[in-house]
Protein backbone atom coordinates (compact mmCIF):
# COMPACT_ATOMS: atom_id res chain seq x y z
CA UNK A 1 0.00 0.00 0.00
CA UNK A 2 1.15 3.54 -0.71
CA UNK A 3 1.87 5.31 2.53
CA UNK A 4 -0.66 7.59 4.21
CA UNK A 5 -1.05 9.32 7.55
CA UNK A 6 -3.56 7.99 10.09
CA UNK A 7 -5.66 10.05 12.49
CA UNK A 8 -8.12 8.84 15.12
CA UNK A 9 -10.18 11.83 16.25
CA UNK A 10 -12.44 11.46 19.29
CA UNK A 11 -15.29 13.71 18.14
CA UNK A 12 -17.15 14.48 14.90
CA UNK A 13 -16.02 18.15 14.86
CA UNK A 14 -12.40 17.01 15.24
CA UNK A 15 -12.88 14.55 12.37
CA UNK A 16 -14.30 17.35 10.23
CA UNK A 17 -11.41 19.68 11.12
CA UNK A 18 -8.90 16.99 10.09
CA UNK A 19 -10.75 16.30 6.83
CA UNK A 20 -10.64 20.00 6.03
CA UNK A 21 -7.03 20.58 7.08
CA UNK A 22 -5.39 17.57 5.49
CA UNK A 23 -5.74 17.59 1.72
CA UNK A 24 -6.54 14.29 -0.01
CA UNK A 25 -7.84 12.80 3.25
CA UNK A 26 -10.59 10.19 3.44
CA UNK A 27 -12.85 8.86 6.16
CA UNK A 28 -12.21 5.28 7.31
CA UNK A 29 -15.12 3.26 8.72
CA UNK A 30 -14.55 -0.53 8.71
CA UNK A 31 -12.30 -0.35 5.66
CA UNK A 32 -14.17 -3.20 3.95
CA UNK A 33 -14.41 -1.25 0.69
CA UNK A 34 -11.87 1.50 1.20
CA UNK A 35 -8.82 -0.66 1.98
CA UNK A 36 -9.19 -3.01 -1.03
CA UNK A 37 -9.71 0.13 -3.15
CA UNK A 38 -6.44 1.58 -1.85
CA UNK A 39 -4.62 -1.73 -2.37
CA UNK A 40 -5.79 -1.77 -5.98
CA UNK A 41 -4.58 1.86 -6.30
CA UNK A 42 -8.04 3.06 -7.26
CA UNK A 43 -7.68 5.55 -4.41
CA UNK A 44 -4.49 7.14 -3.09
CA UNK A 45 -5.44 9.17 -0.01
CA UNK A 46 -2.72 11.13 1.81
CA UNK A 47 -4.45 10.53 5.14
CA UNK A 48 -7.16 8.36 6.65
CA UNK A 49 -9.45 9.84 9.28
CA UNK A 50 -10.61 6.90 11.37
CA UNK A 51 -14.11 7.16 12.84
CA UNK A 52 -13.69 4.13 15.14
CA UNK A 53 -12.78 6.13 18.25
CA UNK A 54 -15.96 8.25 18.25
CA UNK A 55 -18.21 6.14 20.51
CA UNK A 56 -21.52 7.93 19.95
CA UNK A 57 -21.37 7.10 16.21
CA UNK A 58 -22.11 3.44 17.05
CA UNK A 59 -25.25 4.07 19.11
CA UNK A 60 -28.57 2.43 18.21
CA UNK A 61 -31.54 4.20 19.81
CA UNK A 62 -35.24 4.90 19.45
CA UNK A 63 -36.13 8.58 19.12
CA UNK A 64 -39.88 9.20 19.02
CA UNK A 65 -41.25 7.23 16.07
CA UNK A 66 -37.83 6.59 14.52
CA UNK A 67 -35.10 3.99 14.91
CA UNK A 68 -31.74 5.78 14.81
CA UNK A 69 -28.68 3.76 13.82
CA UNK A 70 -25.27 5.41 14.19
CA UNK A 71 -23.09 5.50 11.08
CA UNK A 72 -20.40 3.32 12.71
CA UNK A 73 -22.83 0.60 13.83
CA UNK A 74 -21.41 -2.57 12.30
CA UNK A 75 -23.65 -5.03 10.51
CA UNK A 76 -23.23 -7.46 13.45
CA UNK A 77 -24.40 -4.72 15.86
CA UNK A 78 -27.61 -4.36 13.83
CA UNK A 79 -28.07 -8.15 13.67
CA UNK A 80 -27.78 -8.52 17.45
CA UNK A 81 -29.50 -5.30 18.59
CA UNK A 82 -32.60 -6.01 20.70
CA UNK A 83 -33.93 -2.57 19.73
CA UNK A 84 -33.62 -3.28 16.00
CA UNK A 85 -35.13 -6.74 16.42
CA UNK A 86 -38.18 -5.38 18.20
CA UNK A 87 -38.73 -2.17 16.19
CA UNK A 88 -37.67 -3.07 12.61
CA UNK A 89 -36.79 -6.80 12.52
CA UNK A 90 -36.39 -6.57 8.72
CA UNK A 91 -33.18 -4.58 9.24
CA UNK A 92 -31.66 -7.28 11.48
CA UNK A 93 -32.57 -9.88 8.85
CA UNK A 94 -31.06 -7.74 6.07
CA UNK A 95 -27.83 -7.14 8.01
CA UNK A 96 -27.51 -10.87 8.80
CA UNK A 97 -27.41 -11.57 5.05
CA UNK A 98 -24.54 -9.17 4.26
CA UNK A 99 -21.30 -10.84 3.18
CA UNK A 100 -19.91 -13.23 5.78
CA UNK A 101 -19.22 -13.07 9.54
CA UNK A 102 -15.88 -11.29 9.17
CA UNK A 103 -17.40 -8.66 6.86
CA UNK A 104 -20.30 -8.17 9.28
CA UNK A 105 -17.80 -7.73 12.13
CA UNK A 106 -16.16 -4.75 10.39
CA UNK A 107 -18.52 -3.28 7.77
CA UNK A 108 -20.74 -0.39 8.85
CA UNK A 109 -24.08 1.05 7.81
CA UNK A 110 -22.53 4.50 7.25
CA UNK A 111 -19.80 3.11 5.00
CA UNK A 112 -22.29 1.07 3.03
CA UNK A 113 -24.68 3.98 2.49
CA UNK A 114 -21.86 6.45 1.67
CA UNK A 115 -20.39 4.02 -0.83
CA UNK A 116 -23.78 3.39 -2.56
CA UNK A 117 -22.64 0.20 -4.26
CA UNK A 118 -25.35 -0.71 -6.82
CA UNK A 119 -25.67 -4.19 -5.26
CA UNK A 120 -25.48 -3.23 -1.58
CA UNK A 121 -28.40 -4.21 0.65
CA UNK A 122 -28.89 -1.18 2.92
CA UNK A 123 -29.80 1.34 0.19
CA UNK A 124 -32.99 -0.65 -0.52
CA UNK A 125 -34.06 -0.43 3.13
CA UNK A 126 -33.08 3.23 3.44
CA UNK A 127 -35.21 4.13 0.39
CA UNK A 128 -38.17 1.85 1.21
CA UNK A 129 -38.42 3.08 4.81
CA UNK A 130 -38.09 6.70 3.63
CA UNK A 131 -35.17 7.14 6.03
CA UNK A 132 -33.20 10.30 6.66
CA UNK A 133 -29.42 10.41 6.35
CA UNK A 134 -28.20 12.62 9.18
CA UNK A 135 -24.82 14.27 8.60
CA UNK A 136 -22.59 16.68 10.49
CA UNK A 137 -24.44 19.57 8.84
CA UNK A 138 -27.93 18.59 7.61
CA UNK A 139 -30.57 15.91 7.17
CA UNK A 140 -30.92 14.36 3.71
CA UNK A 141 -34.07 12.43 2.78
CA UNK A 142 -33.35 9.05 1.16
CA UNK A 143 -35.17 10.17 -1.99
CA UNK A 144 -32.52 12.88 -2.53
CA UNK A 145 -29.50 10.89 -1.33
CA UNK A 146 -28.79 8.08 -3.82
CA UNK A 147 -28.03 9.90 -7.06
CA UNK A 148 -26.35 7.31 -9.30
CA UNK A 149 -23.77 4.54 -9.63
CA UNK A 150 -21.59 4.88 -6.48
CA UNK A 151 -22.87 8.49 -6.32
CA UNK A 152 -24.64 10.24 -3.45
CA UNK A 153 -25.57 13.84 -2.66
CA UNK A 154 -22.92 14.00 0.09
CA UNK A 155 -20.73 17.07 -0.23
CA UNK A 156 -16.94 16.78 -0.06
CA UNK A 157 -15.91 16.18 3.58
CA UNK A 158 -19.50 15.65 4.75
CA UNK A 159 -19.75 13.05 7.52
CA UNK A 160 -22.75 10.77 7.97
CA UNK A 161 -23.48 10.54 11.69
CA UNK A 162 -26.62 8.36 11.70
CA UNK A 163 -29.53 7.05 9.69
CA UNK A 164 -33.07 7.76 11.00
CA UNK A 165 -35.55 5.07 10.01
CA UNK A 166 -39.22 5.94 10.61
CA UNK A 167 -40.61 2.77 12.22
CA UNK A 168 -42.96 1.16 9.66
CA UNK A 169 -46.08 -0.89 10.43
CA UNK A 170 -44.30 -3.74 8.69
CA UNK A 171 -41.42 -4.33 6.28
CA UNK A 172 -39.72 -7.21 4.47
CA UNK A 173 -36.51 -7.72 2.49
CA UNK A 174 -35.66 -10.51 0.06
CA UNK A 175 -32.59 -10.88 -2.09
CA UNK A 176 -31.26 -13.19 -4.72
CA UNK A 177 -27.64 -13.19 -3.67
CA UNK A 178 -24.42 -13.77 -5.52
CA UNK A 179 -23.23 -17.10 -4.10
CA UNK A 180 -19.64 -15.83 -3.97
CA UNK A 181 -19.93 -12.41 -2.31
CA UNK A 182 -23.56 -12.48 -1.05
CA UNK A 183 -24.06 -9.04 -2.66
CA UNK A 184 -27.57 -8.65 -4.11
CA UNK A 185 -28.02 -9.73 -7.73
CA UNK A 186 -31.49 -8.35 -7.04
CA UNK A 187 -32.77 -7.30 -3.62
CA UNK A 188 -36.20 -5.83 -2.90
CA UNK A 189 -37.37 -4.08 0.25
CA UNK A 190 -41.08 -3.50 0.81
CA UNK A 191 -42.29 -1.28 3.66
CA UNK A 192 -45.81 -0.40 4.77
CA UNK A 193 -46.28 2.69 6.91
CA UNK A 194 -49.88 3.56 7.64
CA UNK A 195 -51.67 3.29 4.30
CA UNK A 196 -48.54 3.97 2.21
CA UNK A 197 -46.32 1.29 0.69
CA UNK A 198 -42.84 1.80 -0.73
CA UNK A 199 -40.97 -0.73 -2.84
CA UNK A 200 -37.21 -0.24 -3.39
CA UNK A 201 -34.98 -2.36 -5.60
CA UNK A 202 -31.21 -2.78 -5.30
CA UNK A 203 -28.81 -4.82 -7.45
CA UNK A 204 -30.93 -4.59 -10.57
CA UNK A 205 -30.00 -1.15 -11.88
CA UNK A 206 -27.06 1.27 -11.62
CA UNK A 207 -28.63 2.72 -8.47
CA UNK A 208 -31.42 1.78 -6.04
CA UNK A 209 -34.89 2.73 -7.38
CA UNK A 210 -38.61 2.55 -6.49
CA UNK A 211 -41.38 0.75 -8.35
CA UNK A 212 -44.48 3.01 -8.13
CA UNK A 213 -46.72 0.53 -9.95
CA UNK A 214 -46.09 -2.13 -7.29
CA UNK A 215 -46.59 0.44 -4.53
CA UNK A 216 -50.06 1.36 -5.81
CA UNK A 217 -51.06 -2.27 -6.20
CA UNK A 218 -49.85 -3.11 -2.68
CA UNK A 219 -51.63 -0.12 -1.17
CA UNK A 220 -54.88 -1.59 -2.56
CA UNK A 221 -54.10 -5.15 -1.49
CA UNK A 222 -51.03 -6.01 0.60
CA UNK A 223 -50.27 -9.55 -0.50
CA UNK A 224 -47.78 -11.16 -2.92
CA UNK A 225 -50.52 -11.91 -5.47
CA UNK A 226 -51.22 -8.20 -5.91
CA UNK A 227 -47.93 -7.69 -7.78
CA UNK A 228 -47.48 -11.11 -9.40
CA UNK A 229 -48.28 -9.81 -12.86
CA UNK A 230 -46.31 -6.56 -12.61
CA UNK A 231 -43.10 -6.83 -14.66
CA UNK A 232 -40.60 -4.02 -14.82
CA UNK A 233 -38.82 -3.21 -18.08
CA UNK A 234 -35.31 -4.58 -18.56
CA UNK A 235 -34.26 -1.57 -20.62
CA UNK A 236 -32.07 0.18 -18.04
CA UNK A 237 -31.09 -2.77 -15.86
CA UNK A 238 -27.60 -4.25 -15.39
CA UNK A 239 -26.25 -7.15 -17.42
CA UNK A 240 -23.13 -8.88 -16.16
CA UNK A 241 -21.67 -12.34 -15.50
CA UNK A 242 -24.14 -12.86 -12.65
CA UNK A 243 -27.36 -12.18 -14.58
CA UNK A 244 -28.56 -10.42 -17.70
CA UNK A 245 -31.09 -7.57 -17.65
CA UNK A 246 -34.06 -9.74 -18.65
CA UNK A 247 -33.36 -12.16 -15.82
CA UNK A 248 -32.92 -9.31 -13.35
CA UNK A 249 -36.27 -7.82 -14.42
CA UNK A 250 -37.87 -11.21 -13.75
CA UNK A 251 -36.14 -11.46 -10.36
CA UNK A 252 -37.50 -8.07 -9.29
CA UNK A 253 -41.07 -9.43 -9.30
CA UNK A 254 -40.03 -12.70 -7.64
CA UNK A 255 -38.08 -10.96 -4.87
CA UNK A 256 -40.79 -8.32 -4.39
CA UNK A 257 -43.37 -11.08 -3.79
CA UNK A 258 -41.03 -12.74 -1.28
CA UNK A 259 -40.45 -9.39 0.45
CA UNK A 260 -44.22 -8.87 0.79
CA UNK A 261 -44.59 -12.37 2.23
CA UNK A 262 -41.77 -11.64 4.69
CA UNK A 263 -43.41 -8.34 5.65
CA UNK A 264 -46.72 -10.11 6.33
CA UNK A 265 -44.89 -12.57 8.58
CA UNK A 266 -43.33 -9.57 10.31
CA UNK A 267 -39.74 -10.44 9.36
Amino acid sequence: MKSFAFHSPGTVPDAFALLNDVSESKLLAGGMTLLPTIKQRLAEPAALIDLAKIPQLSAITVDGDALVIGAMARHIDVVTSAIVRSKVPMLAHLAAGIGDPAVRNRGTIGGSVANNDPSADYPAAVLALDAIIVTDRREIPASAFFTGLFETSLEPNEIITSIRFPIPSTAGYAKFKSPASRYAVVGVCVAKAGGRVRVAVTGAGPCVFRVPEMETALEARFEPGAIASIKITAARLNSDIHADAEYRAHLVTVMAKKAVAAAIQGL
Partner: protein, 162 residues
Amino acid sequence: MIIKFTLNGRSRKVDVEPATPVTDLLRETLNLTGTHVGCDTSQCGACTVLFNGDAVKSCTLLAPSLDGAALTTIEGLSGSSGSNRLHPMQEAFHENHGLQCGFCTPGMVMTAVALVTRNPAPTEAEVRHGLEGNLCRCTGYQNIVASVMAGAVAMNEPAIGE
Protein backbone atom coordinates in the same frame (compact mmCIF):
# COMPACT_ATOMS: atom_id res chain seq x y z
CA MET B 1 3.46 5.65 14.79
CA ILE B 2 3.58 3.69 18.06
CA ILE B 3 0.73 1.29 18.73
CA LYS B 4 0.06 -0.68 21.90
CA PHE B 5 -2.10 -3.77 21.89
CA THR B 6 -2.45 -7.23 23.39
CA LEU B 7 -1.22 -10.02 21.12
CA ASN B 8 -2.06 -13.57 22.17
CA GLY B 9 -2.37 -12.46 25.77
CA ARG B 10 0.89 -10.44 25.91
CA SER B 11 1.05 -6.67 25.69
CA ARG B 12 3.06 -5.38 22.74
CA LYS B 13 4.30 -1.98 21.70
CA VAL B 14 5.30 -1.65 18.05
CA ASP B 15 6.38 1.19 15.78
CA VAL B 16 4.45 0.86 12.52
CA GLU B 17 4.07 2.68 9.25
CA PRO B 18 0.30 3.55 9.17
CA ALA B 19 -0.27 1.95 5.75
CA THR B 20 0.47 -1.52 7.12
CA PRO B 21 -2.14 -4.27 6.98
CA VAL B 22 -2.18 -6.45 10.08
CA THR B 23 -1.15 -9.42 7.88
CA ASP B 24 2.16 -7.68 7.11
CA LEU B 25 2.70 -6.64 10.72
CA LEU B 26 2.19 -10.23 11.89
CA ARG B 27 4.13 -12.01 9.18
CA GLU B 28 6.95 -9.59 8.34
CA THR B 29 7.56 -7.68 11.58
CA LEU B 30 6.49 -10.11 14.31
CA ASN B 31 7.42 -13.33 12.47
CA LEU B 32 4.04 -14.91 13.15
CA THR B 33 3.52 -16.65 9.83
CA GLY B 34 0.58 -18.82 10.90
CA THR B 35 -1.79 -16.16 9.56
CA HIS B 36 -1.89 -16.80 5.81
CA VAL B 37 -2.42 -14.33 2.96
CA GLY B 38 -4.59 -15.71 0.18
CA CYS B 39 -6.54 -13.19 -1.89
CA ASP B 40 -5.36 -10.10 0.05
CA THR B 41 -8.76 -8.45 -0.65
CA SER B 42 -10.95 -9.92 2.16
CA GLN B 43 -12.66 -12.55 0.01
CA CYS B 44 -10.96 -15.81 1.08
CA GLY B 45 -10.62 -15.71 4.87
CA ALA B 46 -7.17 -17.38 5.10
CA CYS B 47 -5.97 -14.40 7.18
CA THR B 48 -8.79 -14.50 9.75
CA VAL B 49 -7.77 -13.48 13.29
CA LEU B 50 -9.73 -12.53 16.40
CA PHE B 51 -9.91 -8.76 16.93
CA ASN B 52 -11.41 -8.07 20.38
CA GLY B 53 -12.90 -11.56 20.09
CA ASP B 54 -14.51 -11.03 16.67
CA ALA B 55 -13.32 -12.96 13.60
CA VAL B 56 -12.00 -10.43 11.07
CA LYS B 57 -9.89 -10.64 7.94
CA SER B 58 -6.52 -9.19 8.90
CA CYS B 59 -5.55 -8.27 5.32
CA THR B 60 -8.25 -5.59 5.52
CA LEU B 61 -7.44 -4.36 9.02
CA LEU B 62 -4.85 -1.62 9.43
CA ALA B 63 -2.15 -1.94 12.06
CA PRO B 64 -3.08 1.46 13.60
CA SER B 65 -6.58 0.08 14.28
CA LEU B 66 -4.97 -2.39 16.71
CA ASP B 67 -4.09 0.38 19.14
CA GLY B 68 -5.76 -0.50 22.45
CA ALA B 69 -7.23 -3.74 21.10
CA ALA B 70 -6.74 -7.45 21.81
CA LEU B 71 -5.63 -9.66 18.94
CA THR B 72 -5.52 -13.46 18.86
CA THR B 73 -3.82 -15.33 16.03
CA ILE B 74 -3.63 -19.06 15.35
CA GLU B 75 -0.36 -19.12 17.34
CA GLY B 76 -2.29 -17.93 20.40
CA LEU B 77 -4.75 -20.82 20.47
CA SER B 78 -2.58 -23.76 21.52
CA GLY B 79 -1.52 -23.60 25.10
CA SER B 80 -4.20 -21.01 25.82
CA SER B 81 -5.41 -23.15 28.70
CA GLY B 82 -1.95 -23.15 30.27
CA SER B 83 -0.74 -26.47 28.85
CA ASN B 84 1.04 -27.10 25.57
CA ARG B 85 -1.95 -28.91 24.15
CA LEU B 86 -3.56 -27.91 20.90
CA HIS B 87 -6.82 -25.98 21.24
CA PRO B 88 -9.87 -28.32 21.14
CA MET B 89 -10.84 -26.87 17.74
CA GLN B 90 -7.36 -27.63 16.37
CA GLU B 91 -7.59 -31.17 17.80
CA ALA B 92 -10.94 -31.58 16.08
CA PHE B 93 -9.51 -30.54 12.69
CA HIS B 94 -6.71 -33.08 13.24
CA GLU B 95 -9.04 -35.89 14.31
CA ASN B 96 -11.57 -35.30 11.52
CA HIS B 97 -9.06 -34.69 8.74
CA GLY B 98 -10.46 -31.18 8.29
CA LEU B 99 -7.67 -30.13 5.96
CA GLN B 100 -5.69 -31.21 2.96
CA CYS B 101 -3.07 -28.67 1.87
CA GLY B 102 -3.62 -26.65 5.06
CA PHE B 103 -3.46 -23.19 3.51
CA CYS B 104 -6.96 -22.13 4.59
CA THR B 105 -6.77 -23.96 7.93
CA PRO B 106 -5.63 -21.15 10.26
CA GLY B 107 -8.49 -18.94 9.01
CA MET B 108 -10.99 -21.80 9.23
CA VAL B 109 -9.97 -22.56 12.82
CA MET B 110 -10.13 -18.92 13.92
CA THR B 111 -13.56 -18.46 12.34
CA ALA B 112 -14.74 -21.70 13.95
CA VAL B 113 -13.52 -20.67 17.40
CA ALA B 114 -15.33 -17.32 17.11
CA LEU B 115 -18.47 -19.06 15.86
CA VAL B 116 -18.59 -21.54 18.74
CA THR B 117 -17.79 -18.84 21.28
CA ARG B 118 -20.88 -16.92 20.11
CA ASN B 119 -23.04 -19.99 19.53
CA PRO B 120 -21.88 -22.94 21.71
CA ALA B 121 -24.11 -25.56 20.06
CA PRO B 122 -24.38 -24.66 16.35
CA THR B 123 -26.40 -26.74 13.92
CA GLU B 124 -24.72 -28.00 10.77
CA ALA B 125 -26.57 -25.31 8.77
CA GLU B 126 -25.30 -22.63 11.15
CA VAL B 127 -21.74 -23.93 10.76
CA ARG B 128 -22.01 -23.84 6.96
CA HIS B 129 -23.45 -20.30 7.08
CA GLY B 130 -20.74 -19.26 9.55
CA LEU B 131 -17.95 -20.49 7.27
CA GLU B 132 -19.21 -18.56 4.23
CA GLY B 133 -16.28 -16.14 4.39
CA ASN B 134 -13.63 -18.89 4.36
CA LEU B 135 -12.73 -20.59 1.10
CA CYS B 136 -11.14 -24.03 0.83
CA ARG B 137 -10.01 -25.28 -2.59
CA CYS B 138 -9.21 -28.88 -1.52
CA THR B 139 -11.65 -30.53 0.82
CA GLY B 140 -15.14 -29.84 -0.49
CA TYR B 141 -15.88 -28.64 3.07
CA GLN B 142 -17.43 -31.89 4.37
CA ASN B 143 -14.61 -32.68 6.79
CA ILE B 144 -14.24 -29.05 7.78
CA VAL B 145 -17.90 -28.92 8.81
CA ALA B 146 -17.49 -32.24 10.67
CA SER B 147 -14.42 -30.81 12.43
CA VAL B 148 -16.25 -27.68 13.56
CA MET B 149 -19.19 -29.72 14.85
CA ALA B 150 -16.79 -31.95 16.81
CA GLY B 151 -14.75 -28.94 17.94
CA ALA B 152 -17.91 -27.29 19.28
CA VAL B 153 -18.64 -30.30 21.46
CA ALA B 154 -15.03 -30.45 22.65
CA MET B 155 -14.89 -26.71 23.41
CA ASN B 156 -17.86 -27.13 25.73
CA GLU B 157 -16.39 -30.08 27.62
CA PRO B 158 -14.71 -29.25 30.91
CA ALA B 159 -10.93 -29.62 30.46
CA ILE B 160 -9.70 -32.85 32.05
CA GLY B 161 -6.34 -33.53 33.63
CA GLU B 162 -4.89 -30.03 33.42
